[in-house]
């Protein structure tokens, strides 16, 4: 029983992390139909930004959240205006966008090497290793905070999409960009905004990961792959699906240790990815564009 509680808690914490990593990727795909391969690079950049803010100015990572959001939002707008805007839309743009954004990732990685060298870094706050007792076991305070952010983010996102004019425009563009142009929505602006919000979410994921893991400029590829799995499971482009999918992936990965050697548990997610793509290309919960 205690083992079950332990594993369940691990799964919930892990789900929180996976969800934060995947929201940005899901949002951008849902609206722009672009797979943001630079996602891993932005996660890495977010981690370093948080690290710099913490090491140089002593700003707590959670207080640094707004700063990281603004900075990575700006980075996203920049990436959209300079690069993504020029891609052909539709299926023809698929492979091209993958490669373009992969190139961007390589550049980001190189910049990080030049600025910070390849050394492993980590953010250590007073509560990094603190934990609170819960149902006879211990829960990391920091992981709880990450979970909190993972729950708040989609709520905010949903509010933004439902209650604001911009949000409604984003949803409209996601459903039909052409008719939006007809009714006077500046589609380009909406695309740029969405890309910005998506990368801002990736930046947040990077910052949060940095409080848990040690990282270097190569950081982000594992995170990107996991985000892929989550986004595909959730049906590319459905925000709530992402949350649920993160939970399912985490549960499967964590509980797999009961039957599989630990080394192979991370393969489970990839196998699930392929199975879902082949059997249910719309994701586990059907294909809903920003519900």
């Amino acid at each position: 029983m205690e083992r079950f509680i332990d594993l369940s808690l691990s799964a919930i914490m892990l789900a929180g992390l996976y969800a934060t990593m995947a929201y940005g990727l899901g949002l951008i795909y849902g609206v722009l139909r672009v797979v943001n391969l630079a996602h891993g690079g932005v996660i890495m950049a977010g981690a370093y930004l948080g690290w710099v803010l913490f090491e140089r100015w002593g700003i707590d990572p959670y207080l640094a959240l707004p700063l990281v959001i603004v900075a990575s939002f700006g980075l996203g707008i920049l990436m959209y205006r300079l690069l993504v805007r020029h891609l052909p839309r539709g299926p023809a743009g698929g492979p091209a966008s993958l490669l373009l954004l992969f190139g961007t990732w390589l550049v980001l990685r190189n910049v990080a090497y030049l600025l910070f060298t390849g050394n492993d870094q980590s953010i250590r706050t007073s509560y990094s290793t603190a934990s609170v007792p819960f149902l006879g076991t211990y829960v990391s305070v920091n992981r709880l905070a990450v979970l909190g952010v993972a729950v708040i983010l989609p709520i905010l996102l949903q509010l933004l999409l439902k209650k604001t004019y911009t949000g409604r425009a984003i949803r409209a563009v996601a459903q039909n960009a052409d008719s939006c142009t007809l009714v006077g929505v500046d589609v380009e602006r909406i695309y740029a905004l969405t890309f910005g919000i998506g990368t801002a979410l990736a930046g947040v994921a990077g910052l949060l990961s940095a409080t848990i893991f040690s990282f270097n400029p190569g950081f982000g590829s594992g995170e990107l792959l996991k985000s892929f799995v989550v986004v595909v499971l959730g049906g590319l482009g459905s925000i709530l699906g992402v949350g649920l999918a993160a939970f399912i992936l985490a549960v499967v990965e964590v509980f797999a240790i009961l039957v599989l050697p630990s080394y192979l548990t991370s393969a489970v997610g990839f196998v699930m990815l392929v199975l879902v793509l082949v059997l249910r290309p719309g994701g586990l919960f059907g294909h809903r564009v920003l519900g």
Partner: protein, 326 residues
């Protein structure tokens, strides 16, 4: 080049091709290669074969695979296992490695009905699960400590011609594919799978066929690669970076062209050897920038750029000949 069913390869093309291959075959003596250059060109041949085969999928069929390392690794480890098991002639081992990789690629058959990014993401998933499973599969791959083959300098020297042979066959196949009904069918599938089905092109069959061919060639080059390095390790052979390398080479050279992957592989080797030694801090960024520029400005890569230059030269020469001024 619009002939859909050429009965014969045009003489000019065939002659050029044969002369090129023959020149390369005797190049080590004519140019008096150092052992280093000899090995470097060998490596380029192996990468050329892999990139050209990747291009059949990614370029001709439009299915961008981020998981070809799985096939490369498969070919490499099957060959290595065979070579370690007893007195098997190396070419046979490479061939078997390729065949197994070809059959193995059919494992991705269900994914083939996915298009665009969905297919790419599926191949990432397949590639990564294969890497993890094969790294764990100690008995076959030696696990994370890999497999060592006996050192054989003569073999390594001969690999130049084996590599050249493979590259020549593969480039020839590329040309034939492009200039046959088969190639047109692939183009139809690339443009619109459903429409291709409507006009009687069996998309499933052709996709499987191309995937098997591509897998087999990548597998053979994996086998040659194993003999070249005498040591292979699953995290390296099956790694995501290697899958990416196939994509990079082809895109830099020119997706969907015949010459592109060849150029791309050569540039890849050149960049790695020269830039890495001189500017190790910048090579990732250089690849990245190159990729961005190619996607934004010249989707056909270096091959497209060369085509443009050739046209430019022609249009510059033509008036010059008429007017008599340079």
């Amino acid at each position: 080049m619009s002939a859909a069913t050429p009965a014969l390869v045009p003489l000019r093309v065939a002659a050029g091709f044969v002369v090129g291959v023959a020149l390369l075959a005797v190049a080590p003596w004519i140019l008096d290669f150092t052992p280093y250059s000899h090995n470097l060109v060998t490596l380029a041949f192996l990468l050329i074969s892999g990139a050209v085969a990747w291009n059949w999928m990614g370029g001709f069929l439009g299915q961008v695979s981020f998981g070809h390392a799985a096939l490369f690794g498969m070919g490499g480890f099957v060959s290595a296992r065979l070579l370690l098991s007893g007195p098997v002639p190396a070419p046979l081992a490479w061939l078997v490695g390729g065949l197994v990789a070809g059959v193995f690629s059919l494992g991705a058959h269900p994914a083939l009905r996915l298009r665009g990014p969905y297919f790419s993401i599926a191949t990432i998933g397949l590639g990564e699960s294969v890497r993890l499973i094969f790294t764990y599969w100690e008995d076959f791959t030696g696990g994370s400590s890999g497999l060592s083959l006996p050192i054989d300098p003569d073999m390594k020297h001969q690999l130049y011609w084996w590599g050249l042979g493979l590259a020549a066959i593969v480039v020839g196949m590329s040309w034939l594919m492009r200039h046959s009904t088969f190639g047109l069918q692939l183009l139809a599938i690339k443009a619109d799978v459903d429409a291709a089905g409507d006009v009687g092109v069996s998309a499933t069959f052709y996709q499987d066929l191309v995937f098997v061919l591509s897998g087999a060639v990548v597998g053979v080059s994996g086998g040659l690669y194993a003999s070249y390095f005498s040591f292979i390790e699953p995290n390296d052979m099956f790694g995501f970076d290697r899958s990416i390398a196939f994509v990079l080479m082809t895109v830099i050279g020119g997706v969907g062209t015949i010459l592109g992957p060849v150029l791309g592989a050569i540039v890849f080797v050149l960049l790695r050897q020269y830039l890495l030694a001189s500017y190790p801090d910048l090579y990732l960024g250089l690849y990245g920038t190159l990729l961005i520029f190619i996607i934004l400005f010249e989707p056909l890569g270096l091959a497209g750029l060369l085509g443009r230059l050739a046209r430019l030269a022609r249009s510059w020469r033509a008036p010059a000949a008429e007017g008599g001024t340079p």
